[in-house]
């Protein structure tokens, strides 16, 4: 069987994928104050993962990333819902958020918001959904 020699693709992928993943993490955490957020971060992460699948094939990536993306959907949804339910502990309505500033050794003063937890839930869901859909359709015979 003819096997394509996609050396350039693989080499560039190993570089680009990490840049993409780093960018995605940036988008996720920067989302509260500048353009970005869980949704777009999730989509970029999914793009990186799909790129890896395209370059290395299913088997290799499954070894490197032993993640069940369908489970990731539920993890994301549960994170988002638990964040919302957490507000009941403080006797406030569902999905009430709060934020405060903390002093950290290296980062200095950092703002931490509960909304970020919710955004992380969004992030995981979007990653899971996108990868699941693309892989399932692509691998369908």
């Amino acid at each position: 069987m003819y096997k394509p020699n996609d050396l350039i693709l693989r080499t560039t992928t190993s570089l680009i994928a990490f840049i993409l993943l780093g960018f995605a993490v940036y988008l996720l955490f920067a989302g509260h104050n500048s353009p970005g957020g869980g949704f777009i971060g999730g989509l970029v992460t999914a793009a990186a993962i799909v790129l890896m699948y395209m370059a290395y094939g299913i088997e290799t990536v499954d070894k490197v990333l032993p993640i069940n993306f369908e489970t990731l959907i539920s993890i994301g949804l549960i994170t988002a819902i638990v964040t919302g339910l957490g507000s009941f502990l403080f006797d406030v309505p569902f999905l009430s958020h709060t934020f405060d500033y903390f002093e950290f050794p290296i980062f200095g003063e950092v703002e931490l918001a509960t909304a970020m937890l919710f955004d992380i839930g969004v992030y995981f869901t979007v990653v899971g959904v996108t990868v699941t859909i693309i892989l399932n359709i692509a691998n369908d015979q």
Binding site: H32, N33, P35, A80, G84, V129, T130, I134
Partner: protein
């Protein structure tokens, strides 16, 4: 009184359990005690010092719907008929129905009917009355279809159901109007406000609605057609429902409401015409029947028409005659049905052409039949009650006075002749019924079994009824003062107690009776010669055909209508949906003056915006006209990226980012499915369809554009966005307002959006993984 009404229904619950012992004890024996005890309960109210009794039991007090029971003379007459004849019918059915039949079902339906009927005649609340009214329709439906494996039974049951429920619903309309006008749900309270009702503009509508209910239930012309088909029911049911009780519910309704409507001249015209026409048509048609029960069915219709006509006359004498005839009719018609049942039971046929000379074999039945048929014919003999009511009927037709209306004056002249005309045929079919069955040569070869006398138990019920015929015939005033006068007073308060006598002297009603008998005998003897007239009238003209035609047409037309728009083609549905939105929205926008276009408050247009929009427009148009699938996918991508560029221009970085990635993903998905997609077909529609589609699409686009412009041109509310801008950092702790709105201020929307995404992903997985592969099979 609530207990008395509901006890049959309550007992009906345990009847199926009792029917398990039917091999040892016939279930009817248990059931018999129910109507009989009700009869005993109510008989104690009879007396000359009777006063109406009222009892109330709350049901839905907030809506004014309560079990208000009102026992006046009219109710008492009906209650005694229902329970009395009910007892006799149950007794008769014990001998009529074999234990191999489904007795549990039979008595359950019968008891259900009994409660319904008692409820109808005792209710003072119009809505409770309606509830019981429909229950009679339903239980009658079940009883007619008792032998459900017969096609004719099902047909008859369906027919009676459709017609009576049609009338019942229209009656409900009338009752709702009445209770709206008067502000009460009690019939007696409505009667007290008769002036309000008579002055109301809706009076003709109300009366039409209520009369429709009464006419359909009481099988009046032209709604009489269900009754002959209802003869498929077991004979005890025919005797009970279709001669003595249910068909008189309409009579009861008219009687109950006549204190309200009798002041309205159309009441006299409509009810009298319908009654008289029913009397003549049904008695004319009865002669034509060959089935014993068919004759009796048409006879019932015609007698009901006669009672209806008398209620329409509304004079004191007519009302009293009507009430008297209700009682008389119940006695002789009940007995005749039972006799027909006996003949059927003992000979195996009800076809009068196969019967004859049965008097020798069944002398007891024959003697009972003499009284029944002769009383029905109204033959002037002093021991037949039918004669008195018929003569009272003739007398009342002569006493009518014109109200000034031209139709009414004509009616007053015509009614006596029509009454005699109808009665002649009544005489003819009554004679035919008796002499055709019991005299002449016996046709034993046509019968399945050798006829013999019925068991004594079967004869008891008709015997008691015939005893009623004779007792009332001999002593016509026996019940009047104590019983019937109260019933008549409930209908018309001007009724005076008259002494009924057999011999009034040579007065007009007597001559009318003699004319009936004389012409009737001639007609009967020459029956063979003129019976060909039935080929001319009704001939092909039959109301059954009209009914069947309506039913069939309803089916056909509905099927056609459904087929015309339920084509199964998504394209058609889309066209209908868009066209509807287009028309309805345009209509309301025009009516409410929604189209406003103002050019204030517009931003400047830059060159780059024009350029991007131009690209998008060209791409959008190109997707419609391209014939290549790949091309269509890519051009759609151009539109998406163009929109993303617009987001950039309009300073929406989050949207632009998301739009870019999503557009990429969806184009990629399209390409992944590329091989599976169907070939783009050349559109082969007709030019007219194409034009229609173009009109709808362009119109829809134009409509949406105008709506968008109008929405922009109107400035009703201050936008909420200022609040978000101010509080985004203060409350949400973020500078990215879009993100703060998404995760904090309107986090719930986002929560469910990601849920939607998750569901979509799972759905795709299940579609792909769980599909039934065609090749695998």
């Amino acid at each position: 009184m609530l207990i008395a009404v509901l006890i049959p229904l309550i007992f009906a619950i345990i009847v199926p359990y009792l029917s398990k012992f039917k091999q040892k004890v016939h279930t009817g024996i248990f059931v018999f005690f129910i109507p009989f005890s009700i009869f005993l309960y109510f008989i104690r109210f009879v007396g000359s010092d009777f006063e109406p009794v009222r009892q109330t039991y709350n049901w839905i007090p907030s809506l004014g719907i309560n079990f208000d029971f009102y026992l006046d003379g009219l109710s008492l007459l009906f209650v005694l008929l229902i329970s009395g004849i009910g007892s006799l019918v149950v007794l008769y059915s014990v001998y009529y129905l074999h234990v191999s039949e489904r007795l549990g079902h039979f008595y359950l339906y019968l008891l259900m009917f009994m409660t319904a009927m008692l409820g109808v005649v005792l209710s003072d609340n119009v809505f409770v009355l309606y509830t019981f009214w429909e229950l009679t329709s339903i239980s009658s439906f079940l009883l007619i279809g008792y032998w459900h494996y017969r096609e004719r039974s099902r047909y008859g049951a369906q027919k009676s159901m459709l017609i009576t429920v049609f009338g019942g619903l229209s009656m409900l309309g009338g009752l709702v109007l009445l209770s709206n006008i008067t502000g009460t749900t009690s019939i007696q309270a409505m009667i007290a406000q008769v002036d309000v009702i008579l002055a109301n503009d809706y009076l003709p509508l109300i009366m039409a609605f209520i009369l429709l209910g009464a006419f359909t239930k009481s099988a009046q012309f032209p709604f009489h057609i269900w009754l002959p088909d209802a003869m498929e029911a077991p004979t005890p049911v025919s005797a009970y429902l279709h001669s003595a009780t249910m068909v008189k519910a309409g009579i009861f309704l008219i009687a109950r409401f006549s204190p309200i409507f009798s002041g309205y001249e159309w009441f006299f015209i409509v009810v009298s015409i319908v009654g008289i026409v029913t009397l003549c048509w049904a008695s004319y048609m009865a002669v034509r029947q060959t089935d014993l029960k068919g004759i009796l069915a048409f006879s019932t219709i015609s007698q009901l028409g006669m009672i209806m006509a008398m209620l329409g006359f509304g004079t004191g004498a007519a009302v009293f005659a009507a009430v008297f005839h209700i009682l008389n009719h119940a006695t002789f018609k009940g007995s005749l049905f039972m006799i027909a049942g006996i003949i059927d039971h003992e000979t195996g046929t009800r076809d009068i052409r196969k019967l004859g000379g049965l008097f020798t074999f069944m002398p007891m039945t024959g003697i009972l039949a003499i009284f029944g048929t002769f009383s029905m014919a109204g033959i002037p003999l002093p021991f037949l009650n039918g004669f008195y009511s018929k003569e009272a009927f003739f007398a009342s037709t002569l006493e009518l006075e014109s109200t000034g209306n031209a139709i009414a004056s004509f009616l007053v002249e015509a009614i006596p002749y029509l009454a005699v005309f109808g009665s002649i045929f009544t005489f003819v079919y009554s004679m035919y019924l008796f002499f055709g069955v019991f005299t002449g040569p016996a046709k034993l070869d046509k019968l399945k079994t050798k006829p013999h006398e019925a068991p004594i138990g079967m004869l008891v019920s008709p015997f008691i009824l015939v005893l009623g015929v004779i007792v009332i015939g001999l002593f016509p005033n026996l019940f009047n003062g104590t019983f019937l006068i109260h019933a008549a007073e409930a209908v018309n308060s001007t009724v005076e107690l008259e002494k009924l006598k057999f011999w009034h002297g040579f007065i007009t009603p007597l001559f009318m009776s003699l004319a009936v008998v004389g012409i009737g005998i001639v007609f009967y003897l020459t029956r063979q010669k003129w019976s060909n007239i039935y080929h001319v009238l009704p001939g092909k003209l039959s109301f059954n055909k009209v009914y069947d035609y309506i039913i069939k047409k309803l089916d056909d037309v509905s099927a056609k209508i459904t087929d015309s728009y339920m084509t199964g083609s998504l394209k058609t549905y889309m066209t209908i949906i868009l066209a509807t939105i287009l028309v309805v929205t345009t209509f309301f926008m025009v009516v409410t003056g929604g189209f406003t276009i103002s050019t204030d408050n517009l931003a400047e247009v830059t060159f780059i915006e024009i350029a991007v929009v131009l690209v998008i427009t060209i791409a959008a148009i190109a997707t419609i006209f391209t014939n290549s699938k790949l091309g269509a996918i890519l051009i759609t991508g151009v539109v998406g990226y163009g929109v993303a560029t617009l987001f950039v221009i309009y300073r929406a970085p989050d949207l632009a980012l998301t739009q870019l990635v999503i557009e990429t993903v969806s184009v990629a998905l399209f390409l992944l499915c590329f091989y599976h997609l169907p070939k783009l077909r050349k559109r082969t529609e007709k030019a007219s369809t194409k034009l229609g589609n173009a009109v709808i699409s362009i119109g829809f686009g134009a409509l949406m554009t105008i709506i968008a412009i109008s929405a922009h041109s109107t400035d009703w509310f201050e936008p909420i966005s200022n609040y978000f801008i101010e509080t985004s950092y203060k409350l949400g702790g973020g500078h990215n307002i879009v993100n703060v709105i998404l995760v904090d201020m309107r986090g719930l929307d986002t929560l469910f959006e990601i849920t939607v995404l998750g569901i979509a992903a799972l759905a795709i997985v299940s579609l792909i993984k769980l599909r039934h592969d065609k090749e695998a099979k």
